[in-house]
Amino acid sequence: MITLSDIQHDALVEIFNISIGRAAAAMSSIVNEEITLAVPSFRFMTIGEAADALCTGEGRRICGVTQTYNGTFDAEAILMFPEERSLEIVRMMVGESFPLNELSELEQEAMSEIGNIILNACIGTIANIIGGKFTSTLPAFRLGTSREILHADEKSADDFVLFIYIDFIMAKREIHGYVAFLMNIPSIAGLLESVDRFIGKIPQ
């Protein structure tokens, strides 16, 4: 099990909040309304644990926006919301007066853009911390159970994810979402070393 010291955890939360704040500013200017994004905490967990944490009920679907990053290490990043929450977010942002029961093609694309902005901000943070370099693919929209979205049945149950909690606040509404980075153990070890170096640079 990967555990973090309090100082490692707090430092990473702080850094994520700075970059996610920039993503929120970018989104606010798109929709002309104040959007606040915050990262209250994050954890490392196995894919199986992450799938369980995301599962809100038997057969309930999750909406995911996924992007693959290659570079210093390879990772798949996924932004996830329960399906009904994703409908709310898109409708708040797009301002559609008559909602359909499922995200339409164009709404899925809007959701992909929201994911794209948040995920690029997250990987940008990680790249900064570790002094790494990544290139990304275009985002893809997916709907499925949490196990399907996280490929829990294809991967070894011991594979780890960096699981980041994200609060999405808009028009006095608060919606909780999650970002998962599917990484292997050496990548996580590399990230933690970099965090330590980063903390070392902060005057205590």
Partner: protein, 328 residues
């Protein structure tokens, strides 16, 4: 700049690539490290009205000053500096590029609805470039608009009774629940009137279903015409039963409306030889009125109105009975 002209004397690969750029039905713009245009395909030429020679080596924001500080600019920078791909959806970015087509019917110019992909390009031994692809999603936008309008129409229809064109049972159920909650919150009165057409089965049997339908429609119109406030609702409850929701109305007010309805239906003077009450169609009405306190349930109110209607029928029909709540 890659164009058919510039590739004329180049290697076959360049000619082929230029021909593809020429034929492809997607806007392709490539920017170099300094955000200057190095590729501008004929699709973009056509819809922007700007020839490739006029943009060569210019920064994208020089060509389109309105893009300065916009998301497309930061997406291009993110691709060039960090290597990240971005998408700009049509829904969240209202047609960022000033690109137009002619509307066939009116010949007027319409701004193309756009979905944009911004991708980093990495080539061995070369500085990073950025590829901007622009897709025309105008047809998809209008398709979704039509879909949405149809869904909205269907929803409206699903709340209307097909025969009488007044509210149906589903609309009533939603309305009465809302009004009950509202009355509870505000401590105001809520009244219901339950209405039944007297000897309607006998009417159907002797005059036929077509006449029966016509009778229902005329009565529905008459009941509807008796209501004047925007919050009041009359709905077809079942076969020959109707229900009226009257927010902020006391027993006396509800009785007045019910009695008015009764007399208006009588005034229609629809012949009904099989009725045991009169030689024309009549209705019986049950009125109930409550202030929904915490202990009161909606079912109770409906039950009171039902009981009042039952009493009206037993007392000889063609009349209004107001439910008298037992003393508590």
């Amino acid at each position: 700049m890659l164009t058919k002209q510039s590739a004329k004397d180049g290697p076959p690969e360049a000619k082929l690539l230029a021909a593809v750029m020429d034929a492809i039905n997607v806007g392709v713009i490539v920017l170099d490290q300094n955000e200057c245009v190095v590729c501008w395909n004929p699709w973009v030429e056509k819809v922007s009205g700007i020839a490739v020679d006029a943009v060569h080596g210019k920064r994208l924001t020089e060509v389109f000053p309105e893009l300065e500080g916009k998301r497309i600019q930061s997406a291009a920078r993110s691709a060039l500096r960090n290597g990240y791909a971005s998408i700009l959806s049509q829904s969240l970015n209202k047609a960022p590029f000033p690109l137009f087509t002619r509307e066939p019917a009116t010949e007027g110019l319409i701004r193309i609805q756009q979905a944009i992909h911004v991708l980093p390009l990495h080539m061995e031994g070369m500085a990073p470039h950025c590829l901007i692809q622009i897709f025309d999603v105008t047809p998809a936008v209008s398709r979704e608009r039509i879909l949405r309008e149809q869904a909205q129409e269907m929803r409206a229809f699903s709340h209307i009774d097909g025969l009488t064109e007044i509210a149906n049972r589903r609309r009533y159920d939603e309305c009465v629940e809302d009004e009950f909650r509202r009355a509870k919150r505000n401590g105001t009165l809520l009244s219901l009137i339950m209405i039944d057409i007297d000897y309607f089965k006998a009417y159907n049997d002797s005059y036929g279903h077509q006449m029966g339908d016509a009778c229902l429609t005329r009565i529905a119109d008459t009941l509807n015409a008796a209501l004047h406030r925007p919050g009041d609702l009359v709905a077809r409850y079942g076969g020959e039963e109707f229900v009226v929701v009257l927010p902020c109305t006391d027993r006396e007010g509800a009785y007045q409306i019910a009695e008015h309805m009764r007399s208006q239906v009588e005034a229609l003077n629809i012949r009904h030889a099989a009725s045991a009450v009169a030689d024309h169609v009549t209705i019986s009405l049950g009125v109930a009125s409550v202030v929904p306190l915490h202990s009161r349930e909606l079912d109770e109110l409906q039950d009171y109105a039902d009981k009042a209607l039952y009493q009206a029928k037993h007392a000889g029909r063609n009349r209004v009975v107001v439910y008298d709540a037992p003393a508590t």
